[in-house]
């Protein structure tokens, strides 16, 4: 029982934990494209900053990923 619940919990931890970062990464990319379209000469700088922002947003999803693996091991 505990084992199957922990598997369910692992799935939920990753699935629910990925919603926020998913929205965040999409927002970063969308705004970066907007910025690049307005000022193409700044595209390089915007792209660099975009990747940093994406990486920071992604970190939250990774915490869920690790938590899923931790829960997966619970018997």
């Amino acid at each position: 029982m505990i084992g199957s619940l922990s598997v369910l919990g692992a799935g939920l931890a990753f699935g629910l934990g990925a919603i926020g970062p998913g929205i965040g990464v999409g927002f970063v990319a969308g705004k970066a494209i907007e910025g690049m379209a307005r000022q193409p000469e700044m595209a390089g700088r915007i792209q660099t900053t975009m990747f940093i922002g994406m990486a920071l947003a992604e970190a939250i999803a990774l915490l869920g990923f690790v938590l899923a693996f931790v829960l997966f091991g619970v018997k």
Binding site: G44, R45, T48, F51, I52, M54, A55, E58, A59, L62, L63, F65, V66
Partner: protein
């Protein structure tokens, strides 16, 4: 064999196993298959740059041209963009980090081989290395006490210090953790996705019919697309690892 068993076997296939020593933890020195691929990738990196820098000419040719393009990419798109010209001191370090991660990621894309970055141990060790380096750089520039004080954002009201300071310290300690997990998770998840589409193709071939023919063909197409995407991810993850290293170094030098 049903789908569940196949996926279990796939996950088991991706587990590290000992080449020298045993898995039970009795021996203290174990060489796993991932470590072998790590060593191969690092050796390839070294050979690549030794060959590239053997005959230096004004107009580079062949391997030297590729290496020079790579170093210029790191210099213009990572170091100069984030740190400006003062970051040129750290260019050798960042180029090394970038190419070590890149070669490891690409090695895992060759069928039958695995990326050295596909285990948490390796990527955590690299994250901790970056953590030590940027803190060391910060302490060397500012001195220990001013550096520790600089974790606090300027303009923090005095009555919030007890809350903000521990949070800032925790966020610093999360950095090697997220660096490691990001790289590992991307490599590991990519291999699982490729493996699962491979399983779909094989299972469709085993039970050939009108429906499974369509499913198998779609899976094969998807696998090719995902493989191309994995090549992109391998590059992007090396780029992100290098750029975050640069950002952390920059943050340690220019404390707020």
């Amino acid at each position: 064999m049903d789908l569940g068993e196949s996926i279990q076997e796939l996950l088991h296939e991706l587990q590290p196993f000992a080449v020298i020593g045993n898995n039970t933890g009795k021996t203290s020195l174990i060489l796993t298959n991932y470590m072998v691929f790590l060593i191969i990738a690092i050796a390839l990196t070294i050979v690549f740059f030794v060959v590239a820098s053997r005959k230096l000419t004004l107009v580079p040719k062949g391997v030297g041209n590729i290496a020079e393009w790579g170093v210029e990419f790191v210099r213009n798109n990572i170091v100069l963009d984030v740190m400006g010209s003062e970051g040129m001191v750290y260019l050798p370090f960042i180029v090394t980090v970038f190419f070590a991660v890149l070669f490891n990621n690409f090695l895992g894309l060759i069928p039958g081989l695995k990326p050295g970055t596909g285990t948490l141990g390796t990527t955590f060790a690299w994250g901790i290395m970056v953590f030590v380096v940027y803190n060391w750089v910060g302490v060397k520039k500012h001195g220990l006490v001013p550096y520790l004080k600089s974790f606090l954002p300027s303009g923090t009201p005095w009555w919030l210090v007890w809350l903000i300071y521990p949070l800032e310290v925790i966020s610093h300690f999360l950095r090697p953790f997220t660096l490691g997990v990001r790289l590992y998770a991307n490599m590991y998840a990519g291999h699982i996705v490729l493996g699962i589409f491979g399983i779909f193709v094989v299972m469709s071939l085993a039970a050939l019919g009108p429906v499974t023919a369509v499913v198998g063909t779609l899976s094969l197409v998807m696998q090719i697309i995902m493989y191309a995407f994995e090549v992109f991810v391998a590059f992007i993850q090396a780029y992100v690892f290098a750029i975050l290293t640069t950002v952390y170094l920059n943050g340690a030098l220019h404390t707020h």
